[in-house]
Every structure is written in structure tokens, then in C-alpha cells.
Symmetry: C2
Subunit: 334 residues, 2 copies
């Protein structure tokens, strides 16, 4: 079916040298005279030679593939992160393979095993909800380095690059206090999601520092989607009609809250404040523009690649934890 590929053998023949020499030239190894070097390069060019990386990898054990496993590829937070992972990896000569765990433990396992079989040099993983110390055992067993990002695992020792969720919650809490909101509801997100727990704790921490009647009325977990936000908003306002601020697990949930408030005839930002996390690009253009917390997905992606490359080169060093400080973006919705 497929045409026979041009191999190093043909290149060698065409250039009138041995295959060892071709390999040396192509990998810039050993001492090769300039004349030979040019001959080989020209021959490779003429024949349109593309080296078979499977063979290289098999023989040398070196791989130039990076595996990226995220919870939801179609979430802009992760697609931005992925875009930078891909770009930085490419600069270092690595190709990135991306897979979607769809936040399912089982699928995460399959995806990781498949990628090991493909011979990836290492992994960048945002752990699926419910992951624990045993989840990544297989990577240790196979000696494949990995770094976690965005979603950490409480008890697990590995490199981690993410943002400080507790601090993000604190920023939101302080802001709400300053603006005088008193009846607050936290909506959306999977309860097993450790980032959610941290954000909520940060929020409670900030609110608790004040002696006042301020309290969280409701903690309403649910799908971290627009639809989830819509429904959580409706039921929150039914159960706690005096709610004056909705803290949303992410901007998707927040846009669902906008929709629900509109339906209920409440003015977003006037009758009820809405605040999100992520700062997706569109949120600046919503009506009213969304107050949210910027979490720098692209920076996380970039840092994760750097950490992984370091780990691939030297798997012995101590684990590193990078937590980027979040930053509050105040707009019209609060």
C-alpha cells in the first residue's frame, strides 16, 4: 500500500559512503570531513530522506515525543496550555502527543499505557479527578519521567506546575468583602477536584477573617460547564433568594450563571455579582465584562515542559513545585 520509504541505505549508496557515515553526519556526531558531510547532505536532500524515528528510538532508547494528558481538550484553558506546551516542546526538538482523559480515571490509564507503548520520553499530566498515589505507579515502574500540572495529587511526590488555588480563593474573598457582598454562593465543579477544594478554602479563609454576618450560604458542586452553571444558579437562588454574589468554579460556569440570572430577570453585576476563574479571552467582552481570576495557562504549559525536559535529562534531583500566583481581574460583574 505504502511506497517503500527512502532509508539511510539509499542515501549511503547515493552518496557513495557507508550507512554509519550517513548516521554520523545526520546526527552531527564523530569527525566527518566537510566534503563527505556535504555529499551526504546533498544525497539526503535529493532523495527527500526523512529518518525513521521509530528505528532511531528503538536502537538508541532516546525518544523525542512528549505526552500531554489533559482533562478536557476542548476547554480553552487546556487548549491554551497545550498550544504553549507544543510550541516550547517543538523548539527543543520534541513532538507533542496530546490526549484527552475526559476526566475519567479509566481512560487516563488507557491513554498513559498507549503512550508508553509509543515510547514517549515523558509525560505532562493534569490528573483526572480521583487520581491518587497509585494512579501513576505504572510510570514509575516503567521509569518514564512525568510532571503533573494544574491538578495535583495531595499525597504524591512528583514535579508539579500549577497555580495557587488557595490564594486565588483568597483574592476573590477579599474582593467580595471590599465590595460589601454578604450572601455568597460557590457553584460548579467536581467535589473531588482538589483545585475546587482549595479555592473554596481560600474563599472561606478570607471571609472568615472578618467579624461580620458574611457567610457562604451554599456550596453547590456540579458539572464545570455552562449548563452546570445555569442549573446551579437556578437552584441556588431558589434555596437562598438573598444571594448577592455567585463565585463560579470557572468562567464556563459563570457564563451559565449570566444566562440563568437573565432568565430570572436579575441584572448581573447589579442585583447579583458573578465572579469566575480562568479569564478566558472572551470574558472581557461579555455583558457585563466578567470579574475573574487570571491563571496563566500558557505559562503553566511552558514551565511544565521545562520541568519535564530537566527531569528527562536528570531523573535524580528533588521534586520541584511551581505555583504561579493568580491575579484578580476586576471588571463589571462585581
Amino acid at each position: 500500500m505504502r511506497k517503500p520509504r527512502v532509508s539511510i541505505k539509499q542515501v549511503a549508496k547515493h552518496a557513495g559512503v557507508s550507512i554509519a557515515t550517513v548516521s554520523h553526519v545526520l546526527n552531527n556526531k564523530g569527525n566527518i570531513s566537510d566534503a563527505t558531510r556535504k555529499q551526504v547532505r546533498d544525497a539526503a536532500q535529493d532523495l527527500g530522506f526523512i529518518p525513521n524515528r521509530n528505528a532511531s528510538r528503538l536502537r538508541s532508547g532516546q525518544s523525542l515525543l512528549i505526552g500531554l494528558v489533559v482533562n478536557d481538550i476542548s476547554n480553552p484553558f487546556f487548549s491554551e496550555l497545550a498550544a504553549d506546551v507544543e510550541a516550547v516542546a517543538a523548539d527543543a526538538g520534541y513532538l507533542s502527543v496530546m490526549a484527552n482523559s475526559r476526566d475519567s480515571l479509566e481512560r487516563q490509564k488507557t491513554v498513559i499505557e498507549t503512550m508508553i507503548g509509543q515510547g514517549v520520553a515523558g509525560f505532562i499530566i493534569s490528573a483526572a479527578s480521583g487520581s491518587d498515589e497509585t494512579t501513576f505507579e505504572v510510570l514509575k515502574e516503567h521509569g518514564v519521567p512525568f510532571v503533573l500540572c494544574v491538578r495535583d495529587i495531595a499525597t504524591y511526590a512528583a514535579d508539579f506546575v500549577g497555580f495557587d488555588n488557595f490564594q486565588a480563593g483568597v483574592l476573590v474573598g477579599r474582593h467580595l468583602l471590599e465590595r460589601g457582598y454578604r450572601d455568597i454562593c460557590f457553584i460548579g465543579g467536581d467535589q473531588r477536584n482538589i483545585n475546587r477544594t482549595d479555592r473554596l478554602n481560600g474563599l472561606l479563609h478570607a471571609l472568615g477573617q472578618q467579624e461580620s454576618g458574611i457567610c457562604i450560604h451554599l456550596d453547590m458542586p456540579g458539572p464545570a460547564t455552562q449548563k452546570g452553571g445555569f442549573e446551579a444558579t437556578l437552584s441556588s437562588l431558589k434555596r437562598a433568594p438573598r444571594t448577592d454574589a455567585l463565585v463560579c468554579f470557572n468562567d464556563y460556569v459563570a457564563i451559565g450563571a449570566y444566562e440563568a440570572l437573565y432568565k430570572l430577570g436579575k441584572r448581573t453585576g447589579v442585583d447579583v455579582a458573578v465572579i469566575g476563574f480562568d479569564n478566558v479571552p472572551e470574558s472581557a467582552a461579555w455583558n457585563p465584562p466578567l470579574t475573574t481570576v487570571e491563571l496563566f495557562p500558557r505559562t503553566i504549559g511552558r514551565r511544565a515542559v521545562i520541568a519535564l525536559l530537566a527531569r528527562i535529562t536528570d531523573n535524580g534531583s528533588a521534586f520541584e513545585r511551581v505555583q504561579l500566583p493568580p491575579s484578580l481581574v476586576v471588571r463589571g460583574s462585581t
Copy 2:
């Protein structure tokens, strides 16, 4: 650095059989007794064996990798498409490798060559702006099957899965006529982008069927981004202050138009209508909700994988062209 991987050899030893037998069992080939089969399976399980696909691929020439090359990974249209490509490919036992051409011809070339080197079984490609018949020559030379999606190449013969852009333009044109808009401006998008040309032509076609003073004032190409839409809107309204409808190359451009109109003190959907293409999920929750054209990225992704798998199995058949009909979603912005 890496632990020595468990190979078929260890499995064979552990099961007390030859490596050929292990291979047969694992690939369900040949006649193997149930007893032996079980022994091998158990041994593989015990040792946590994951077959080295590089070796399989090298020997058999068969690959289970699919390469997906898109113009912009962080655009939700493509990340949704990618999500379904990945899912359907996974069901068929394929792993998908995604790369971002960033709509650059040069990067597209690099990415394709790298992937060939990785031994992908085939490609799904949304052609970068400016691609032509020579761009994908390298794939033909190497005998690697591919299908194009979303962005086609006028003169090129290959499978294609996309949507009917002309028809999408017609839908928009008819809708604007019905609502009585007369001063229309088409904004955003790369002028070399064939989808843009087709949409514009469809729009002109629909408008031209009417005998009236309706006309397109301005065709303002530009970046297909929020920022691009913002700026194009400002300059359009400066040059043609009577503009009553903005047709935006995509929803990103449209949200930029919202922003600009807000800044100019015009009411979106009342003073100036805005219409987009893509129907990104959030657009339903914008204020006002966006009238846009649904283009079914997930369906395109799914169909593209199916077409590619057919092409991998039988590269001789005639090229197939799938054009999904677009569908107008009318909301508050028109």
C-alpha cells in the same frame, strides 16, 4: 536513566514459551492452544508488559498513529474537532498526534515532516492559508494517505471533509435581507483563506438576488481574533458610519465587534446587528446572544477520521468530498 523495559523476551521466559508464541498470542494470530494462551496472558499481566510499538511498527510497517494538523489549536472550533478526532480514532485503536501549524506554511511543512518521521499511518489536515498543490507533495511521495478538512485547496485532489461555506454565506445574506439590513460590512479573516472567500461570495450572491440599494460597503480582512474584530469594527464604522450590520468571519471576531460597539456607545442588535460563524458554545450566553452559523466541527472531525481510515485500508479509491450543510442559529444580535 530509564529502567530497562519489560520486553517480549521476559514474558516468553516467564511463560516458558518462545517469543514467537508470545507475539502470536498478543496479536491474536495463528493457532495457539488455550492453555498456552492463558499462560502468556498471565505472564504479560504479571510483568506489566506494554509492547514496544516502535518495534512493531518498524517490523510490520503498520502504524496506529494518526496525525492531526490544525491552524490554531487554541481556537475552540479546532479543539472541538480535535476532541472528536481523538475519540473516534481511539475507538479504532489509533492514537492521535496533534500539531499546530499556526496557519504558517513553513511550520506546517516542518510538522508534517516530523510526523512522517514518527511513522504516522495517515494525516488529517486543515490546510494553512496559502497552501496549494505542491504543499502536500511530500505526502504523496512518501505514500502517506491524508484527508483535508475544514480548509480545502482549490486545485488539489484529495479527500475533503468540511462544510459548505458558500451556503453559509447565503444563509447569512438571506437572513439579513429578511430583517431589512442595508449597509453591510464583512470583517475579519485572512484574505487567502478560501473559506472566507466562499462565505463572502455566498453573502454577495444572496444579497445580489434582490433588486435594491443593499450593498456590501466594506470588506475588511484582518486577524480572525477578538482583537482583530475590535479593530475592524472601529475602522469600519469610521469609514462607513451608516453600517447597520457586521458580518464577522467567526465568533471570535464577533465578540470583538461587541466590545467595539460597546465602546462606541452603540447597542449591539439594536443600532448595529452582528452575526458570526462557528456557534462556539459561549455565544448563546453573550449579551445579546449571538446570531451565528453552526458548522458542526465535531461531525467534521468524526467524518474525517472515517475517511482517513478508509483511505489507509484502500488508497486506490476515488477521492471523496463531504460538505456538511451549515445551519443558521438566530438569536438576539440581529
